[in-house]
């Protein structure tokens, strides 16, 4: 069953809100605002409260979500989002404070930010953190701005024009670099799934401003040559940037700071259990080594032993990368999570995330093609290519999984694996859940061989069947008021 649009449920005169009676003498806006600036038509719908509640309740029931079932979307760390985190973010002392309140009235909020910065620094082995960035990609931009500022300070801005990025890197990496005018130089992946050292050496020219690296990388593999890589990049005065999307693999085991990275971003909406919200909000705090701390975005938070303060005058700072101090509500959730797990719990999370991934990899490699046959970390990449002979693509396998009540893995990424199927179970899934999923994956593999049309026609048991993406792109209908007839 499909759901009408909110506009289709509207009837003029309905209302889903109440307001107190206006208790000041009413004036005519036309006496105070030029009439051409006074609005006549507002094309919003009109609904009663029950209409609205039902509409969004019904919509929600059309969604798969972590709370509904297994969600092994690689690179996204779809772990359980603890309910208590939601409660904490909604405490009025956090939810009802304004960013421009006097410092004296927000000491609790500043303390939380300060503590969180320090916890992240310890987890990552960095010296200072900013909590401003609103997501991973925003963190990347922030990090790259710091790289720019670093070279500018050394008067090398003109020559430092290139950013190295492995071909397995996430799309945001090159996009972020390009936004700031860097030339993106792609690095090849070795047969072990790490950076091809020869390629790196060849490309590590004096123009290199930095290297952006995800580790474990998007193949789920830990690059054993990090020390060498760092040496090479640092050797040309390039900075090492750590894309922390995959930090969930190594907490308490290894730290980017100790690996030689100068800058790191972490995704609180992955590793630190804050919910993905249907696409966001995320949060992508950026940490740096001491030598780069001066470049961090202002304003920053400081503590003089008695009082927490927001300081805004930092000569070398790249400046603010957003308004206000960060996605505070997300930070509250992440801080709650860190308090809950503590040192040992965070390490356990990584341990079991890696255990789960290796378990699934070893079991699934019997049916699917494993891209790199090595111990993985928190995720691994299969290929759907074996089924090409039957005309079954990875996309078909993904869609068929939906019929069995699962979200599909990440597909067609990383680009270097043909027909990629990238699976990240996360630590919050049980063997039971994984075994059931594995059984279904095996069943689909069998179906692909014996009844390929079945798989190619999937999904069948979903609120809608396969959707026509080509039509959507060819004749965009993205606004009800300009809809396709």
């Amino acid at each position: 069953m499909t759901e009408p649009l909110i506009f289709e449920l509207s009837a003029d005169g309905r209302r889903g809100y109440t307001l107190p009676k206006l208790d000041v003498p009413e004036i005519d806006p036309a006496d105070h605002i030029p009439s051409k600036m006074l609005r006549r038509e507002i094309p919003l719908p009109s609904l009663s409260e029950v209409d609205v509640v039902r509409h969004f309740t019904r919509l929600s029931r059309l969604n798969h979500a972590v709370d509904v079932g297994f969600y092994p979307l690689g690179s996204c760390t779809m772990k359980y989002n603890p309910k208590v985190n939601e409660d904490m973010a909604r405490l009025p002392g956090f939810a009802a404070i304004h960013p421009y309140q006097p410092e004296e009235t927000i000491q609790g909020a500043l303390a939380l930010l300060h503590n969180l910065e320090h916890a992240l620094a310890e987890i990552c082995g960095m010296d200072a953190f900013t909590l401003q960035p609103a997501a991973g990609a925003h963190g990347e931009l922030t990090g790259l701005l710091i790289i720019k500022a670093y070279h500018r300070k050394k008067k090398n801005a003109r020559t430092k024009t290139k950013i190295l990025i492995p071909d397995a890197g996430h799309g945001t990496n090159p996009a972020s670099a390009a936004m700031l005018g860097f030339e993106v130089v792609n690095l090849k992946t070795s047969s072990r799934g790490g950076i091809d050292l020869d390629d790196l050496r060849a490309k590590a020219t004096p123009e290199v401003a930095g290297l952006m690296l995800t580790n474990p990388n998007t193949l789920g593999l830990f690059d054993e040559n990090l020390t060498e890589i760092a040496k090479i990049v640092h050797g040309v005065d390039g900075l090492l940037y750590y894309d922390g999307a995959n930090l969930n693999a190594i907490m308490g085991w290894s730290r980017p700071g100790d690996m030689g990275f100068d800058i790191v971003h972490v995704n609180l909406h992955k590793t630190f259990s804050t919910p993905h919200g249907g696409g966001g909000p995320g949060s992508g705090p950026v940490g740096v080594k001491a030598h780069l701390a001066g470049f961090l975005p202002s304003p920053r938070i400081s503590f003089d032993g008695k009082k927490f303060k927001v300081t805004d005058k930092h000569a070398d700072s790249i400046g603010p990368v957003r308004t206000f101090l960060g996605s505070f509500g997300v930070l509250v959730r992440a801080y709650t999570y860190i308090l809950t797990l503590g040192a040992e719990g965070l390490k356990d999370a990584s341990s079991y995330a890696v255990l789960n991934a290796n378990y699934m990899m070893r079991r699934l490699q019997k049916t699917y093609k494993l891209a790199y046959d090595r111990t993985c970390k928190h995720e691994f990449v299969l290929s759907g290519k074996p089924f090409a002979e039957k005309g079954v693509k990875t996309l078909d396998i993904a869609k068929r999984l939906l019929d069995y009540g699962y979200h599909a893995p990440t597909v067609y990424f990383p680009l270097i694996v043909e027909e990629a199927i990238m699976i990240e179970p996360t630590e919050t899934e049980s063997k039971q859940t994984m075994d059931e999923f594995i059984a279904v994956m095996e069943k689909i593999a069998a179906e692909a061989m014996t009844d390929p049309e079945k798989v190619k026609g999937a999904p069948y048991n979903t609120p809608v069947t396969r959707l026509d993406e080509a039509l959507a792109a060819r004749k965009p209908d993205i606004n009800f008021f300009k809809r396709r007839p």
Partner: protein, 448 residues
């Protein structure tokens, strides 16, 4: 073992066996010894849920916000009333524990809600196209200027000082590093100095920016600004407060090409400034330049309407370094929040809330003028629900007011040295006549 980890000892054993290793340690053995952390993380031990709640409550209670104090702060974040139903719907895990709707067939809830959000935003702003959200206003403006650059092939943008100073700072941080030159224009009587504007806008100008209402709460003459921009082939980029558009003409009807800004006023908790809702809407001509995700309607195999992420060829995961923007995660849940708010309020409600805020702000200004001699008003421009006052010792006054239960305004000096002792005062529909009276009383008392 924590309540978030389901592993039993028996299962761990079975899994290790299936993998063919002896211990979990073995799974980390390829990390070179030198890169391993050979000590526990220097963090406190984990806590039970009850202990965490206690500790977080302690922190929360060290803050005194709009639940304890009467809030007259605005400057982009407003203390509007948030109808109860919103939180109930947002708390549905079916929404908030999902991610980007990559698998459309099991994400129709999220996708349809985004389509509705896009449509509502277009309706409110008078634009043709909206994306699925941006981070927040500052970065939304950054992207808007980047779009203008791409569209016009020009690299100079003109931003009056009447645009939120923090947005301007973000633009300076980011756009300046993208090869965009930023030109500032001063204000006059609380609005953009049109004469000065005319002087700097020329055919190298990619965009002129305007706040609507502007940072001082004043209602700019958008049409005039649009003319200045359009005359030289530049775009008019407007940073708007969407709730104010319940009373103010849609920027699209006054010539805006891009409307972006902060959507927190649409029923989103203030939450110390985030997560909030960056929004981005534009005219049809700019469709292929829009950053971020867009949802479109289509049909399934049986002809039923359905929704998908569309026009993805603009985006980083497809285009990588050739993408116009790097945005990936956005503020989907806040867009949903705003969508539910706009649905509940509807046509009449958004007008009522905007109007009540307008009425109460004007009442307060009138009362202050009549009752508090120490207060003066630097600007006479028309305003929505926010205005600037001048008071002696503004900063110390704010602290004194806070002690007596009022968050009295935002001191402007930090951004405008020339506006020492000036406060920006915002009034929403939540403030009662009694609250306004108390404000006057308090200010009168503290300044006499």
């Amino acid at each position: 073992m924590s309540s978030y980890l389901p592993h039993t000892q028996a299962e761990v054993k079975a899994m290790l066996e299936a993998i063919g290793v002896k211990s979990i340690d073995d799974l980390f053995s390829e990390i070179p010894a030198g890169l391993r952390l050979n000590r526990p993380l220097d963090l406190p031990d984990g806590l039970s849920e009850a202990e965490v709640v206690d500790e977080m409550n302690d922190l929360a209670q060290m803050n005194y916000g709009a639940n304890e104090l009467l809030c007259f702060l605005g400057a982009g974040i407003y203390d509007h009333y948030i109808p109860s139903a919103i939180n109930h719907l947002l708390l549905r895990g079916d929404f908030f524990t999902a991610y980007t709707p990559y698998q459309a067939e099991i994400s129709q809830g999220t996708l349809q809600a985004i389509y509705e959000y896009q449509s509502l935003l277009c309706g409110l702003t008078g634009m043709d196209v909206s994306n699925a959200s941006m981070y927040e206003a500052g970065t939304a403006l950054v992207e808007a200027l980047n779009m203008a650059k791409a569209q016009t092939g020009r690299t100079r943008v003109v931003i009056p000082e009447t645009v939120h100073p923090e947005y301007r700072r973000v633009v300076k941080t980011i756009n300046a590093q993208m090869g965009i030159e930023i030109v500032t224009v001063p204000f006059e009587d609380g609005v953009t100095d049109m004469a000065k504007l005319a002087e700097v806008v020329d055919d190298s100008t990619a965009a002129v920016v305007a706040g609507y209402p502007n940072f001082f709460g004043s209602v700019e003459d958008l049409e005039a600004l649009a003319n200045v921009a359009h005359n030289v082939g530049a775009l008019l980029v407007v940073t708007a407060d969407p709730l104010s558009l319940g009373l103010l003409t849609a920027p699209g009807d006054l010539g805006a090409d891009i409307v972006c800004g902060e959507g927190q006023s649409l029923g989103i908790p203030m939450s110390f400034g985030g997560p909030s809702l960056g929004f981005m809407a534009c005219k049809e001509a700019l469709l292929r330049k829009v950053p971020g995700r867009i949802t479109g309607a289509t049909v399934d195999k049986t002809g039923r309407r359905g929704f998908v992420l569309t026009l993805q060829a603009r985006e980083q995961h497809i285009r990588r370094e050739k993408a116009g923007s790097n945005i990936c995660s956005n503020q989907a849940l806040m867009a949903l929040n705003a969508t539910i708010y706009m649905s509940l309020l509807g046509r009449d409600g958004i007008r009522d809330v905007a109007n009540q805020s307008f009425q109460k702000a004007h009442h307060l200004k009138k009362e202050l003028a009549a009752r508090v001699p120490a207060v003066s008003f630097p600007f006479a421009a028309p305003f929505m629900n926010e205005f600037v006052i001048k008071v002696p010792n503004a900063k110390r006054l704010l602290l004194k007011m806070a002690k007596q239960g009022v968050l009295g305004g935002v001191a402007l000096e930090r951004w405008f040295p020339s506006l020492k002792d000036h406060l920006l005062v915002a009034v929403t529909e939540k403030r009662t006549a009694e609250d306004l009276d108390y404000y006057c009383e308090l200010l009168g008392g503290l300044t006499s």
